[in-house]
């Protein structure tokens, strides 16, 4: 073997190390051919009832749009850009068929731009509303937050639609960003979404997904890093009612050293056929030394007839890490908790209410958007009234 060959081989192996792909997260690609129509047996599709996507995966072109109602703090702009411009901004390429179709068929993207060093005086509010599930809507969004800026973005989805959207959150160096997406759809909505975040060097990002409504909601929250020191917190809260399918897929791709990710998703299920799916995955690449990661999912099953699938994964390519862990639990009411509360005179429905509120409280407090926190507690209360608060006959 010549020296040149050896060098070539080491370069090749180095390249291969870079190309480590997560078996749960196929490589991102704009090419639709890389995202074939799923049969339902694929690892990334096996939990999703494809029929209930109601033809979204066929990729029928459509001009339908959600109505947009925005509240923008001073200095924040919203504009329309072309598909090519979105790509040129360095958005994150689609990682599954619905997000690839969204880029292909949305006919351009909406850019929410927070300039560098801007500290917004209030949250960016984007209210998206659909008229009916007959509408097929392709969405393409880019949220760009400049270096050292500080901003909160709240996306609220109401009404109904069959909506497939891809969103990139590009976070500049040292920025602090809080993104919350609330799925408060009507009962028949279908929502496929992929939020992908690139965390700048030393930037801090919190992303919260809150899913209450919709017939089928399947959301990705993916994070990768643009340099060392990035810190991402991915939170989620969901309440699956009878017949609802709520699926959250998390991916923290530690592609830079000294980065952090913390994933906490909590959900409650009630009613016949309520189905929650949570797939967490963390990939720690060879280069990602000294990282810290933790992922956690907890499900509270309130009635019979519900199903919660919870699968945490961890793929590790380096041993030089600060900490990595995960936890997953699916459980019913803890009889001892109920006994303790009832032994203090609290009625059984009231005890259940306290336990569920308590279950969500810690998470709600972390959201960091006061107006939304209040609404979340109210919605939890509303959901509880459907079941838990009804006196047992």
């Amino acid at each position: 073997m010549t020296v040149t060959d050896a060098a070539r081989e080491s370069v090749a192996s180095a390249l291969e190390a870079d190309q480590v792909v997560s078996h749960l997260n196929p490589p991102a690609s704009y090419d639709l051919a890389d995202h074939p129509v799923p049969t339902g047996r694929e690892e990334i599709w096996r939990f999703t009832p494809l029929k209930r996507l109601r033809g979204v995966l066929e990729g029928t072109p459509s001009d339908d749009r959600l109505t947009w109602d925005t509240t923008l703090p001073d200095g924040v702009t919203v504009s329309t850009i072309s598909t090519a411009e979105a790509r040129a901004l360095g958005e994150l390429a689609p990682n599954d068929r619905p997000s690839a179709l969204a880029v292909e068929l949305a006919g351009g993207a909406t850019l929410v731009d927070v300039p560098a060093e801007l500290e917004t005086d209030g949250p960016v509010l984007i209210d998206l509303h659909g008229e009916s599930a007959d509408q097929l809507v392709w969405g393409h969004l880019v949220i760009r937050v400049g270096a050292y800026a500080k901003a909160t973005v709240v996306l609220t989805h109401t009404g109904s639609a069959r909506y497939s959207a891809t969103t990139s959150v590009l976070v500049g160096e040292g920025a602090q960003v809080n993104v919350l997406t609330l799925q408060d759809w009507d009962d028949d909505a279908v929502h496929l979404g992929r939020d992908a975040i690139r965390v700048g060097r030393d930037a801090t990002v919190r992303h919260t997904a809150v899913s209450f409504g919709g017939d089928l909601v399947r959301l990705h929250a993916n994070v990768e890093y643009d340099g060392p020191g990035g810190d991402a917190e991915l939170l989620g809260l969901y309440f699956a009612d009878a017949g609802q399918h709520l699926e959250h897929r998390l991916f923290a791709d530690h592609n830079a050293p000294k980065t952090k990710s913390n994933v906490v998703y909590k959900g409650a299920l009630q009613g016949e056929g309520a189905h929650a799916v949570w797939i967490g995955n963390v990939l720690i690449r060879k280069v990602a030394e000294g990282i810290e990661t933790y992922e956690e999912n907890r499900n509270l099953v309130l009635t019979d007839g519900c199903q919660a699938d919870s699968v945490p994964n961890l793929e590790i390519e380096t041993g030089e890490i600060e900490g990595a862990g995960h936890a997953s639990a699916v459980g019913r009411f803890d009889d001892e908790q109920l006994f303790y509360l009832r032994s203090r005179g609290v009625s059984e429905p009231e005890a259940r209410r306290l336990v569920v509120h308590g279950f969500f409280n810690d998470l709600v407090r972390k959201v960091g958007v006061p107006s939304v926190e209040e609404k979340l507690l109210a919605t939890v209360e509303e959901e509880l009234s459907k079941n838990v608060l009804q006196e047992l006959s």
Partner: protein, 252 residues
């Protein structure tokens, strides 16, 4: 007035080998202003007695009666028993994540009284109770029993005793795991409760230590699910000197 009357109580639990009888005919009356200590070796059924009175679903009453001022306790649900005036201070208080102590106390007080406590006096009452038990006012914002030290859990139980003001308190090994300072604080709390008119206390303990601070009117020795002996406070001294051996041997 308050009289807790337990007559020929039989209780069993489900085990893998079928139901197992733990209490084998317990008869005990706790009258007005009386403090009864129940002492016995591990596994004698002391805690089962406490949990059966409170109505824990794990225990099945197979015979006997329990009445509070003539009312049939066994016919009541767990929360009805508490509202009727029974309180159980638990050996292992349960964590309720995300529910703050202040929310918990207010909810319990509202349930017991049938109406929400007056805000101004209530805040004062809570702060007073916490202070007397040497618990920081910030305690109210913590989740119920979550991350509490053993001593904090027990002091929190006694703070509840003070605020919820039941007729009869059952204290299940409240002294276990307490250092001497915490034991004194907890005992003072129990004594404040006893000093009130018409309160009854059933103090369950393995050790005589707590009886130095809380003097019982009666002492019952509990062995193998039954009362094996009873007497006045002097019986506790005898147990301290001799242990439970002679009772355990007699029961075999």
């Amino acid at each position: 007035m308050s009289t807790l009357e337990i007559k020929d109580l039989h209780v069993s639990v489900d085990t893998e080998d079928g139901p197992k009888e733990i209490l084998k005919g317990v008869t005990l009356t706790i009258g007005d202003n009386e403090t009864h200590a129940i002492m016995g070796p591990n596994g004698s059924g002391k805690s089962t007695l406490a949990y059966s009175i409170a109505g824990h679903p794990k225990y099945t009453v197979t015979g006997g009666t329990v009445t509070l001022d003539g009312e049939d306790v066994l016919a009541m649900s767990v929360d009805e028993r508490a509202r009727a005036g029974l309180f159980l201070a638990m050996q292992y208080p349960v964590e309720v994540p995300g529910v703050s102590v202040s929310n918990f106390l207010r909810t319990a007080k509202t349930a017991i009284d049938g109406e929400a406590p007056k805000l101004r006096t209530w805040v004062k009452d809570v702060n007073g109770a916490l202070e007397r038990l040497n618990l920081d006012p910030s305690f109210g914002t913590r989740s119920v029993n979550e991350g509490f030290s053993g001593g904090e859990k027990k002091r929190h139980e006694i703070a509840q005793l003070e605020l919820l003001a039941p007729k009869v308190a059952v204290l299940d090994e409240t002294d276990s795991g307490l250092d001497i300072d915490a034991l004194k604080i907890v005992s003072e709390g129990v004594n404040r409760f006893r000093e009130q008119e018409g309160k009854g206390v059933l103090l369950i303990t393995h050790y005589t230590r707590i009886l130095r601070y809380i003097t019982p009117d009666y002492v019952h020795v509990f062995v193998d699910g039954k009362v094996a002996d009873q007497g006045g406070p002097e019986l506790a001294d005898q147990l301290e000197a001799e242990g439970y051996d002679k009772y355990v041997k007699a029961a075999v």
